[in-house]
Amino acid sequence: MSSTSLATAVRPAPGQDTDLLIDVQDLHVHFPTGAGPVHAVRGISLQVRRGETVAVVGESGSGKSVTSRALVGLAGPHARVEAARLHVGGQDAGRFTERDWQRVRGAEIGLVLQDALGSLDPLRTVEQEVGEALRRHGTLSRWDRRGRRAAVEELLAAAGIPDPAVRSRQYPHELSGGLRQRALIASALAGGPSLLIADEPTTALDVTVQAQILDLLAQRKRDGLGLLLVSHDLAVVAAVADRVLVVSGGEVVEEGPVADVIGAPAHPYTRTLLSAIPSAGSRGRRLSPDRAPLPERSIDVDAPVVVADGLGKSFRRRGGAIHAVRDVSLTISRGETLGLVGESGSGKSTVARLLLGLTRPDTGTVRFPGAERPGAGPQLVPQDAFGSFDPRYPVGAVVAEGLGHLDRTRRRARVVELLDQVGLPASVAERYPRQLSGGQRQRVAIARAIGPRPRLLVCDEPVSALDVSVQAQVLDLLAELQAELGTAVLFVSHDLGVVHHVSDRVLVMRHGEIVESGPVQRVFRAPAHPYTELLLDSLPPAVRPIRPPHAPVPEPGATS
């Protein structure tokens, strides 16, 4: 690499290597806390050049976001940032004052955060937002209204926003998540920076929108923009990055060209991360590096646990009714997992609530054939496990709540048994959910759900809020429990990889309707509906299921 000679130089004169946008050696960040200082970043070194995409990959708490923030002087008022070398845009940022950072941010480095709604001022239109970025860093005068509007619209168009003239006059809450993220990228690029730092830019977005944003970033990269991408998602990283740094515990555990790191991971942690990604290839196997087979499940097709027929539900909103669910029928058999995929607003969560009886359908029926005990209705494993626990209840009381039919000693024994089934020690019963990690909380939610021995388990995005390695453990646990208990599972998720991994059959929903259904292998390998095809094509190539090169083309409008 040509940069090795530079790396040893103490202070490269400006202009010596103008391609080197970021050059950091041995970065350390400490935060003082009540329990002593926390060493969040422990000696990370990285370089980003013009036209290059470098990805920092890690799980929550790995120090990846702190690193990216330290590079723009936003590590926080209490952070202590130290580095052997901290060069940003060819300047020594080691002695930067806040004023220096302000000059660099926006003009040299653009920053895009995950939370687009939180990053945009709700009281300002897109034009005002992007216009201010232009004015601060450009030559545009404060009074040149027309010039500003034209420049803003040009930027919005470049960020792939359709109808920029209309959109620029709207407020953030009037835009969809994807448009907001584009507006944010437009304002980050307004100052003409040569480097963009994007912290989880697509994490909250639907898969089709994610594909569009990644396209946009790749396009800007071809124009010569340097990109530092911070992400937990190795599949996204594989799609756009040139080089990858895998970080864990504030240190870089592996680094190199993306093909090497993903194709032949050297470090065990990288291997764990990669094997934790659920996909077509992981079906029937554990999401751990050894890929041990999961226990066999037996599906009893003649014993339907739930039969929903012609479900419809609409909600009254200002300006008319919204048909959240239209004519949805489904059956789940004993021991079977039915995947339900769709993007936000597709109505998949409403279907889950209808099956659970939490929402009453306008039309249609839900029947539970063969349900004799009244207490064993369908149970829910929610996305937000923490919010589903009464904050005053210790774990034991949370799990015991559904066991009212047992006497005190039998109930206590059952709680211990349930905790053991989800891999938690009995001592957890005395602790409070707020003292547990995200993965432990989800285990408690599962223990509570299987407590009354339900015949149907509804999992509504049960792993969406978890880190990929924790997600892998929870998915493995669910698969084991299902094989052991023979429960029918409705698995609702926006993540096609997860659904492909866990499901036997799958329903694809869009605008409240089922557009396609069938065995998961058939639907994902040879989709019959163009929307399913669009969803699958939007996946980053690393997790896209392999399809036969000439999939049979179905007649348009076919809904299986």
Partner: protein
Amino acid sequence: MIVLDRAGRAAARSQPAQRPRRRVRREQLPVLAASGVLVLVGAMALVPGAFTAADPILADPIATLRPPGAEHPFGTDLLGRDVWARVVHGARHSLFIGLTATVLALLVGVLLGLAAGVGHRYLDEFVSRVFDVLGAFPELLLALLFISLAGTGTANLIIAIGIAAAPRYGRVVRAETLAVRNAGYVEQAALLGIGAWARALRHVLPNALGTIPILATLGLGSAIISAAGLGFLGFGPQPPLPEWGSLLAEGRNYLRIGWWLGVFPGLAITVTVVATAVVGGHLQRRFERRNSL
């Protein structure tokens, strides 16, 4: 190594590991003092005899208008009654009225707030409008209105202050109930087969009442002020019974010749109310910290 960030440098200089612990202790000092004041005032109300041997009502024509001194720490009034004894015995009346009025306000407010929160939409509308109307008047004015209709006396004073303060609790309870009613854990309880009443009692009520002890502590202070204010106007316990508000009213006319007549009852009210505010504020901060964990 290069050290960045001005605040970071400052933190590095002052040994960050030790600083937080010392700050917590300094923060707790006023809270401890305020709690001490409340305990002291409470003890005065319960066993005034332990603080003074003098009779608060017995006049002593020989020792009138004595300034504070060794024999009479707060001096004596026009009739030669010991002001310290009157302030100590007055704690019973002022605190009793403040406490019972707050309890009454809590009962009325929490019940109505809960009913509005879990009940039918029409009930909610009705209760909310009642709160709105009551809330449109200053509490003291409302209490005055009630007393002018129902007549003076300690019982009426308590009812007046209690009803006037009820909306402030009722509104909070209603809002919290509405927020908690659709919480994830209430839905989970429904799925686990817990009935509607049991859900309301087990999950909705306790979680909706989380802020009530804080509000009640803060409200106690204003109830004591209301009681003293109405007592000052002569609507409270009638003379010669000592009550802080009426003591203040008695002293008002003699401030020039006997400043101690007004200053000490006034101080008693001020210190007690400030103490409830400090303790209430501390409870609130603790509650917020717990919830932000």
